[in-house]
């Protein structure tokens, strides 16, 4: 009996060790097909950066995820993985308090300003690791479109281009824009005879929210904006999102707790009441590409034109995806990759 137990314990220990060795094995550091995970320690936070793809020309696209509280790895899917990574390296960054990032800090260490400094710290690390001749493009999706301008307004010298994907450069204005966008979309869809009961309920929601910002009403409209996308997809107004994402990178519980925590801190500090970069977009003078879904309500489409009009670059482009809402990388992935790759290759 003793021998049997001992042998079982030995086998269990051996399995754990072997699996662990494999889990810790060094990733493929072939420069043409990078697959590395590093952490950036800055101001008491350790933030994960997953670096994948072709770095032979030392061109890196840094993706700033949405949220606040999203995660970097969630963007490693579809044509970002299958096409953009073939063209250049892509850096999927877990921002402070998000995804697999960890640290010991106080609420005072959480702000848009510090999170923008984190992005610049990431650039310094990438330069230290891959060489000073490395070149960078910055892409921000949704909340990443708040953090992107915040970063570039601190220092845009290191970046060859800015890609704004349905980015929230004006969180302060989004409460009123939600009301306008939801009403407009509901009126259009009712007129088309699509999901009439649902869209009438949306009109009721908009009628019943307060005239000025309050958190409850904000999140009611925010949730409805994303629910509306499902209805638009059901009616084939937009394409159904595609995802070949492997979500096992994150512990669901930790990731969810992180997301709620970081978002609640930023909201408490006035993200949707005080923060707006509209009046400073003209200071961003690097080449810029503005990509937006025509049916986006999460960050209403009116912001696409506003971003394009206000960006200070003389090399800028606005492109609207006709069959997309908030995430064109999921609904029109091939066209999305084409636009991004063309932009990077033009300005690299």
């Amino acid at each position: 009996m003793k021998k049997i137990i001992l042998s079982k314990v030995k086998i269990a220990v051996l399995i754990v060790i072997v699996l662990n060795v494999f889990s810790c094995s060094k990733d493929d550091d072939n420069i043409n097909d990078l697959g590395e995970t590093i952490f950036v320690r800055h101001k008491n936070a350790d933030m994960a950066a997953y670096i994948h793809g072709n770095a032979s020309e030392k061109v890196f696209l840094i993706i700033l995820h949405g949220g606040p509280g999203g995660s970097g790895w969630q963007y490693r899917k579809n044509t970002i993985k299958s096409k953009i990574e073939k063209n250049n390296a892509v850096v999927y960054f877990d921002q402070r308090g998000s995804g697999n990032s960890q640290g010991s800090y106080s609420e005072a260490d959480v702000s848009v300003d510090i999170m923008a400094e984190d992005v610049l710290a990431l650039v310094k690390v990438l330069k230290a690791k891959y060489g000073d001749d490395s070149r960078f493009f910055l892409m921000g999706h949704s909340w990443g479109g708040t953090l992107g301008p915040a970063t570039l307004l601190k220092n845009q010298e290191d970046f060859l281009g800015w890609i704004d994907v349905d980015g929230a450069h004006d969180p302060k204005g989004s409460y009123n824009e939600y009301k306008i966008a939801l009403k407009k979309m509901a009126d259009e869809q009712v007129a088309l005879g699509n999901n009439i009961d649902y869209w009438k309920a949306v009109l009721d929601l908009v009628k019943n929210v307060g005239p000025d910002y309050n958190e409850d009403d904000f999140y009611k409209m925010n949730r409805e904006a994303y629910r509306a996308e499902e209805k638009l997809a059901d009616d084939k107004v937009i394409n159904k999102p595609i995802s070949d994402d492997n979500g096992s990178q994150y512990n669901f519980f930790t990731n969810t707790w992180n997301a709620n925590r970081i978002q609640s801190i930023l909201v408490k500090k006035g993200l949707f009441q005080k923060v707006s970069f509209t009046n400073r977009l003209h200071e961003i003078t690097i080449p810029s590409l503005v990509l937006w879904g025509k049916y986006d309500i999460g960050v209403p489409t009116v912001y696409a034109q506003e971003a394009y009009d206000n960006l200070g670059s003389n090399q800028k482009e606005l492109f609207i995806f006709e069959k997309s809402a908030h995430s064109p990388m999921d609904t029109e992935p091939d066209l999305f990759a084409e636009k991004v790759i063309d932009f990077i290759n033009l300005h690299k």
Partner: protein
């Protein structure tokens, strides 16, 4: 270092106190070692080893028609050391250790209920290649990772195998609070399943 000193002092104090209150049974008779799985199955999985030391034991004997019903209540000092990882990534490796008290009820058939309170806990994460940025200076961090205070509570069931060397098994659900983690306190739920051993026993 501070946390290690506190843990050492507490364990030493507990040990001395326990010895003072034990009568009859030897140290090894009252000590069991345990090894088991801990984690949440889906993402984090690990192995833990530990020891339990019977501090106090109360036996209630109830007279029933079919004979006596003996219920044992024990208070045990508890110490554990474990390592867990997410096998599919390099981002969730960590060593955890915790110390506290277990209350355990054992019925005549050997079925057990456990409640654990572990006020002293420490979690040390291990991260892959990490670079620290201070101003314009970038430096590589040696032994990257972070330490967190991590007290825990657990409830569970188990089975006593009286008089055996493999003296029982346990299945606990544990809630650990990892703090200060990302400007807050991270709750971590984990399952613990393992076997206890008493090497003093013959079989």
């Amino acid at each position: 270092m501070k946390i290690h000193t506190i843990i050492f002092l507490l364990v030493a104090t507990m040990h001395l106190q326990a010895q003072n209150q034990i009568s009859g049974a030897s140290f090894l008779d009252r000590t069991e070692f345990k090894i088991g799985y801990y984690g949440n199955i889906a993402w984090d999985n690990g192995l833990t080893i530990g020891t339990e030391y019977v501090w106090k034991e109360y036996i209630n004997i109830k007279e029933r028609k079919r004979g006596q019903k003996i219920i044992t209540h024990q208070f045990l000092f508890n110490g554990n050391l474990g390592y867990s990882t997410n096998f599919s990534t390099q981002t969730d490796n960590g060593l955890s250790t915790y110390y506290g008290l277990i209350w355990r009820r054992t019925n005549p058939k050997g079925k057990q209920y456990n409640v654990e309170l572990n006020p002293l806990g420490y979690y040390r994460s291990f991260l892959p290649e990490t670079y620290e940025v201070k101003g314009d200076r970038v430096s590589k961090v040696s032994l990257p990772g972070r330490g967190y205070y991590a007290p825990s509570i657990a409830v569970g069931i188990g089975k006593l195998r009286k008089g055996k060397k493999r003296s029982g098994w346990y299945l606990n659900l544990q809630l650990t609070l990892r703090t200060n983690y990302n400007a807050g306190t991270l709750p971590v739920l984990s399952l613990h399943y393992g076997h206890r051993f008493n090497f003093k026993r013959k079989r």
